[in-house]
Symmetry: none
Subunit: 419 residues, 2 copies
């Protein structure tokens, strides 16, 4: 096994420290490094502050083979990064004719003249390799110093991506013999992280050291990420897949998909395959469940429509729910969601009808029907699966959890019908 090639990502900019900008660059850089087998060991965010930069550069060079820096470049930042790098590497600034030509061309092709500020962007630390930025004016700079590779890029996302895709990643692949990394993510639903962990603990313990497991919980779901390291891609894939083959029977009823599958996308694919469709009657989820389903491109292939009868009168008038059910059992009851799911299915002429009714909160609760109590139902024309949920005090979380649970109920219905 090769010693892993490591990287550190340094993001520079006051706006990142004030929290005004969401840092999507470092996530993207991490993903790209991960794809090519470079192990990111740390990410640092600092302000437009020379002292903090020097300290970050010193630290990074101790452990990282590759240091990717974004930000602090461009006319509004006074090209601080460039000047601090020159100081850090003890090099002078030099005019790079290629850089000057490219900056001039960038402006002329847009019908604009080169201003003095722009011209100064062609002055770079003399020890750098100039990397052309064809989609912006701030040049990329590649350095090989202190046994590491250093790449300085502008913070504007599409410019940084351009430089990475066109220059940096190819240069890294050329320079280093990279190990192979293979990830596979198993998506589970309907079981909590600690319960899942208990069920699979023996399997987890027997994993070889070059295959690691991470738990990534989110609302109502838990992702299991298996990561294999090695020298041969085909061998790693085979080994990781073998571990998954061992894992699946232990938790098969909770697994709904892999990698970038979402519960909505998987249900969509299944409905398309089966030539089936759905309609949704929502009370407490107020449109969110339909939104989750219709977020998926092509949803019109299997989503017929929905109705949101937010008051009991409309559950009666527009969805034909029996007024006796509503007055005796109430809107938040098993009987009501059975009728809602049955009726919405009929009205939209769909294979399945889903329904939700509950107390989303924070108000509206009572002793018998507290905030977080939700009933859901899935009707397939013959039978109806229902589930009672006892959720949280948080309205939005209750809405999200109910939607996830409803899609899971539909998934279970489809699975049951398959047998």
């Amino acid at each position: 096994m090769h010693k892993p090639v490591t990287a550190e990502i340094i993001s520079i900019g006051d706006e990142l420290l004030y929290g005004q900008i969401l840092d999507t660059n470092s996530k993207w850089l991490s993903e790209e490094m991960d794809k090519i087998g470079v192990r990111v060991i740390r990410k640092t965010t600092i302000g437009d502050d020379p002292e903090a930069m020097i300290q970050a550069f010193k630290l990074a060079s101790k452990k990282a083979d590759i240091i990717l820096m974004t930000g602090g470049l461009g006319p509004t930042k006074d090209d601080l990064t460039k000047n601090v790098l020159a100081e850090f590497f003890n090099s002078s600034m030099k005019l790079f004719p290629d850089a000057l030509e490219d900056v001039r061309h960038f402006f002329e092709s847009r019908g604009r003249e080169l201003s003095p500020t722009n011209r100064s962007q062609a002055y770079l630390p003399s020890n750098c390799t100039y990397i052309q930025n064809a989609v912006g004016t701030a040049p990329g700079m590649w350095f090989e110093e202190y046994k590491s590779v250093w790449m300085s890029m502008p913070g504007v996302p599409h410019e940084m991506k351009y430089l990475m895709e066109n220059a940096v990643i190819p240069k890294i692949k050329e320079k280093y013999k990279l190990p192979v990394i293979y990830h596979k993510v198993i998506k589970t639903i309907g079981i909590g992280e600690s319960w899942l962990s208990d069920i699979i603990s023996e399997w987890e313990d027997q994993l070889p050291s070059h295959i690691r497991l991470a738990y990534l919980p989110s609302l109502g779901e838990v992702k299991l990420r298996l990561t294999g390291f090695g020298n041969s891609f085909d061998l790693i894939v085979k080994e990781v897949d073998e571990e998954i083959d061992k894992l699946e029977p232990l938790i098969s009823k909770y697994i709904y998909g892999f990698n970038t599958d979402t519960i909505a996308s998987v249900i969509g694919q299944t409905l398309i395959q089966n030539n089936e469709n759905i309609a949704i009657a929502e009370s407490c989820t107020g449109g969110y469940l339909s939104h989750v389903v219709t977020s998926i491109p092509g949803a019109s292939n299997y989503y017929n429509g929905g109705i949101i009868p937010y008051h009991n009168a409309f559950k009666e008038n527009l969805l034909d729910v029996d007024p006796v059910t509503l007055s005796t059992k109430g809107a938040v009851s098993e009987d009501t969601v059975i009728e809602m799911s049955k009726q919405v299915r009929l009205k939209f002429k769909s294979t399945y009808g889903l329904a939700t009714s509950g107390v989303a909160g924070p108000g509206g609760g009572s002793k018998e029907k507290p905030v977080g109590l939700v009933w859901i139902a899935c009707h397939d024309g013959e039978k109806c699966l229902t589930r009672k949920l006892q959720l949280t005090k948080d309205r939005l979380i209750n809405i999200q959890l109910t939607s996830t649970a409803s899609l899971n109920l539909l998934r279970e219905t489809i699975l049951q019908n398959r047998k």
Copy 2:
């Protein structure tokens, strides 16, 4: 002016280094620190790696008064933060009875038993102050060591926010004398950032140096954040409010609210005040617009319901849209949304009816009706305001922009009717 109180944010988790998770926590934490006048000086992201953690803790304690750590907590096997902190502070692990009680109660109130893994979550470093996490099982831990404050929190966003809002921020305000900062955010809608900037540029130029303006654009809206710095809270508030009094007349028709107002919450308050209500017919927004409205607690006071007739047949059958309109003008047309808004208003007996119909994409476009073309309408029983939108190629962005524009159309209708 006091010496600034500084903070460092340390985010822990392999999933952050691999780029599989977008780090929204550190942005939120930065914003919260900025609001109370604490200066974030660095943000560091490391893996579930004891050595990297210890190094990061050592570095942080040199410069930062407050160290906020997220991640690496929870009941599964790869959670190290707690144990590494105990090592770093040279303290032993101890059972905290309060923590045990709270974990037990968390599970029992959900009808579940305490597993051994969960029970171990009540063992914490003996030098910490236990901070209850009422929305999850991983406890918060507050330490005062090496002249700094250290707060360890789970990485799950809503749990971290709960701890920050309920415990950490109050404790920080109690412990430190923070500079006086007063923010006021003006929420605008229906105008782009550069146009807005042009209109208000003279006003912006005359702002005194201790009052700063930041433009915070988001989808379909621009927030203007005025921040005043000083020694006397009352004086700063007065000064900032005076600047806003100068600003408002310049852009009054675009301002819909302040601070944490959202377009949905403001509309909700207005409808309640006017004793009015709405119903929504959605095609391309697929439930999202209703969801935005019903996200607001108390929405049942003014939201009667909605219908999502995702196919033309249902626009006809369930919403009584004229089939001739559909066949001659098509679903994505001004005529169709006029009818949809008119009919949904009648069906749900509401004051206003809103309707959306468009090509969300990425598929479904044509030369005449490309992806991003959307019609919206707001009917008040007498007249109907419509608007044609030409948006993007991105499905989710189109859905969000359409919803914002629809709520703005309703806002304009209400304003017009007021005159």
